[in-house]
Symmetry: C2
Subunit: 118 residues, 2 copies
């Protein structure tokens, strides 16, 4: 899987409140599928599907204990995600003063901007 695909999977996995709640729950310790499903008004297969998406992103790994399949957190992919955001946020915010300075001019029609040599 390429780095871009990993980012895709990670951000996508985070883009759902149920999945974020599952991650928050797992932060307090490993849990089985039924344990994870019980707080939600949602069927067990639905939770299993969400877990598949979290596993695809590498955010969750599966254990093996008799019939139970306890899920654990894997924080690794989050680092890549925060790094991507952080890297770009620096650039953006450093550009923002300049952009904000241009704003009034951009509101003006193009003809005005031409005279201003923008």
């Amino acid at each position: 899987m390429t780095a871009a695909e990993r980012l895709d999977a990670t951000f996508f996995a985070l883009a759902d409140p149920t999945r974020r709640a599952i991650l928050a729950r797992l932060a307090t310790g490993e849990a089985s599928v039924t344990e994870l499903a019980s707080p939600f008004e949602m069927s067990q297969p639905a939770i299993s599907k969400h877990l598949k998406i979290l596993e695809r992103a590498g955010l969750v790994s599966v254990g093996h204990d008799a019939q139970r399949r306890p899920r654990r957190l894997e924080p690794g992919p989050l680092q890549a995600a925060t790094e991507w955001i952080g890297r770009h946020r620096e650039i953006w915010e450093s550009n923002f003063q300049r952009l904000d300075g241009l704003l009034e001019d951009l509101q003006a029609p193009r003809s005005v901007r031409k005279k201003k040599n923008l």
Copy 2:
């Protein structure tokens, strides 16, 4: 829009390489739709759709200049996203030593764990 919905929209917007490339391109300065579309082997309406998703997340705002609709970056939503990740990453990583310590026991069958009072 609730905070959860804003997070949904932000993470979802970031979960696509085309949209991340658009954001990276906008980091170098505002750009029109056709300018944004040209590097991609993709039609202009497709780019417009991606922009709609970025706007829904509040990551991009639209200007108005004659026929042009220049897009600018709005880094605000990223802060909420990084804060969510950061907040949880702290908890997770602080729990990790404890979880790792339990791991060997969890690998063992339940009967063994019972004897160990786990």
